[in-house]
Amino acid sequence: MNNIKISISSTPHIRAKHTINSIMLDVLIALIPATLAGIYFFGANALLRIIISIASAMGFEYLFQKGTKQPITLNDYSAILTGLLLALNLSSTVPLWVPVVGNLFAIIIVKQLFGGLGQNFMNPALAARVFLTISYAAVANNYLPADSAVDVLTYATPLSAIKFNDFVPSFADYKDVFWGNVGGSVGETSAFAIIIGGLYLIRKKIIDWKIPVIIIVSVLFFSFLFKRNDLGFHPIYEALSGGLLLGAFFMATDYSSSPITPLGNIIFAVCIGLMISIIRAFGSYPEGVAYAILFMNLWVPILDRYTKPRVFGTTRGGKSIE
């Protein structure tokens, strides 16, 4: 015991158990219900696109890190997560090259060129979704109703039905959007599956309940203010359909593209809800979640700057308290 070597380091000497990897893995676990629901309703087409999307996300991450001589960080699950999220955001009918191009954009341009994990100023999967809808509108926007033989919906998605055809949902339609038996992206149709995953994330303290709850509540509130059509008002139906739940639980809560301050997060969430309602009611596009979140992602640095918490022993204005 005379000449043993002991290690020294700065405090604190103990650290919490969670790591980047465990957090990413928990998000992947939380996406399992939505993924399974997508595969159940949209079949092998959906499964094939999910596999291609994840594989291409991992491939691009590997190639970029190899090419720029950085450590390969595929084992942190973040590329897998981006690939899965993008697949869940696409229709099951897109050509197979669409997820590949989307991941090229998500991983290389949005994520790696801005500095990699934690440095992306937008959610990579959402940015890629919007990139694809704009650049390849003809193929990327073709949403197939799930189980179309049984369903009476003749329109692609519930939201486009409301927007363009003054659709009034019946009780059966509510049931369909809750379980996911409607048209839309692979991962966003089943409200039930997404909520299960979202509750898991909140329970595991990966995300704060405030962002998703505030987004949903503000969509309910603002869609009451901005009525879509004269045939009635269906805020619950609107909240359950489209990309709202997937966006609120899994996209808006993305760490690197959301504010770090508690107050910033609240403003961020309210503004996303407002933007969704504005786009849905006044825009030419039936869906607004992706644009709303991306738009608010751009405000994050400003929100962070002006919503700093009150420093202990000072007033909000930074003066010393009496």
């Binding site: 919490a16 918490p309 009150r310 022993g313 930074g318």
Partner: protein
């Protein structure tokens, strides 16, 4: 009982393995050399009063500082001064130290241990005894206690807050002391209130120590103006400003000291040392120490002579199961990792924690993922992630403007960070630089 807490903070696994181990004495063995660093406190270092070859007695003053903010040091054994030279002490600082070879005769100075009634002493006499007994804050800071007990004339102390929170994981000394020495604790509370007759006195204890709370409450019912406050177990509840907030609901203004808002915070161990010095005429020569961690054979709480080396102490209680990867002097959140086992126990060391590689190795730093957890948990209301970026940019001015000096160095940010970034370390480095240059944000 009032239950209180503060804003934010973290919940590390408490790992208080030794909470039920009664305090045992550790006697220094015959051959051991005890080392007394001349700087174990905040303020001017002490000057030796002895030279090599002198024989000293147990309880003899061997070093003393000059000025007001300083203290004195006493020998904890009888023996011979063999050397006075520089060592690296438990805080990692280089300090001159007096080496004393123990002769195991336990010969004490005259009047050592004589009983005294504090009621017969004046306030100034009590403060002189405290200074002469080498008492400093035993919770870790090491601020000379006679200075703390003598606040500037223009400050009126309205709240005395005794810190029994013990929020650091692993540590159990305050808990055991409060449970086993309750009678002495009650007397020391009365002594403290005798010094500040107009102040209200509160003893804050985390409610994971209910046995201590119950015992103190039942024995203190006759003390007027005294209360036991139960604290929600959370780190850093024992930090001065967080404790004041929990108990009095008042925030210490940024840049001010507790006495500016009429508060005085003192540790449980410290007031017991004051009582021992004033009532029993025993200077600060020993302290209670938690010896724990997964490398140690007999973890427990021990009464140990100040000056004994970590190696000596651990060998006399049964040694180690395996070579430690890391040894921490103090708690795992704020304590210092020591570089070798010859380091002596100083007045402010509350524990030695012997950790294996599994429990003591820090994970590798990764990219920040901007989760914002450091912001959610920072008890000072800072943005540790931003401060870390500023430090890595080497921008001292922006650091000061971003309130970096208001950091309390509790380490909650580093603890909670999923990317395992060394947030507290970077912020501490710049904070110390800013403080040494007296840089502060205009308020």
């Amino acid at each position: 009982m009032k239950i209180a807490t503060f804003k934010r903070g973290v919940h590390p696994k408490d790992s208080k393995l030794t909470a039920y181990n009664t305090i045992k004495d550790v006697l220094p063995n015959l051959t051991c050399v005890l080392k007394y660093p001349l700087q174990q406190h905040i303020g001017a270092p002490c000057k030796p009063l002895v030279v090599v070859g002198d024989r000293v007695l147990k309880g003899q003053k061997i070093a003393e500082g000059q000025g007001f903010v300083t203290t004195s040091i006493h020998s904890s054994v009888s023996g011979e001064v063999t050397k006075i030279s520089e060592i690296i002490n438990a805080t990692g600082d280089i300090s001159k130290a007096i080496f004393i070879q123990n002769d195991n005769l336990e010969e004490t100075v005259p009047n050592f241990g004589d009983k005294r009634d504090y009621l017969s002493l004046s306030r100034d006499e009590i403060l002189a005894i405290v200074k002469d007994s080498g008492i400093v804050g035993l919770g870790g800071a090491g601020f000379p206690t006679h200075v703390k007990l003598n606040p500037p004339k223009d400050k009126t102390i309205t709240n005395i807050i005794i810190n029994g929170a013990e929020c650091e994981p692993y540590l159990t000394t305050d808990h055991r002391v409060m449970l086993e020495n309750t009678d002495r604790l009650i007397e020391s509370i009365k002594l403290l209130m005798h010094l500040f007759p107009n102040a209200k006195c509160s003893l804050g204890i985390e409610i994971n120590k209910l046995d201590a709370i119950r015992k103190i409450e039942s024995l203190s019912s006759d003390i007027e103006n005294f209360e036991v406050v139960g604290l929600i177990p959370k780190y850093p509840q024992g930090a001065e400003k967080q404790l004041i907030l929990a108990i009095t609901d008042k925030e210490v203004p940024s840049g001010s000291l507790p006495h500016d808002i009429g508060c005085l915070v003192i540790n449980v161990d410290t007031i017991l040392a004051v009582q021992n010095a004033v009532c029993n005429n025993v200077p600060l020569i020993e302290r209670i120490l938690t010896l724990t961690g997964d490398c140690i054979v007999n973890p427990g709480n021990y009464r140990v002579r100040i000056g004994s080396s970590a190696k000596n102490i651990v060998e006399s209680i049964g040694g180690l199961k395996e070579e430690p990867f890391k040894v921490i002097a103090g708690g795992p959140m704020m304590g210092k990792a020591i570089h070798e086992l010859q380091v002596p126990l100083s007045k402010t060391t509350s524990s030695f924690i012997f950790l294996t590689e599994k429990s003591g190795k820090l994970p590798t730093e990764r990219n920040c993922i901007r989760c914002g957890k450091c912001v959610d948990f920072c008890p000072a209301g800072l943005l540790p992630v931003e401060l870390n970026r500023i430090v890595l940019d080497n921008n001292l001015n922006e650091f000061v403007q971003s309130d970096g000096v208001d950091c309390i160095e509790c380490g909650s940010c580093s603890y909670i960070c999923p990317s395992k970034r060394h947030l507290a370390q970077s912020i501490r480095a710049f904070r110390r630089t800013a403080l040494s240059k007296k840089l502060r944000k205009e308020r």
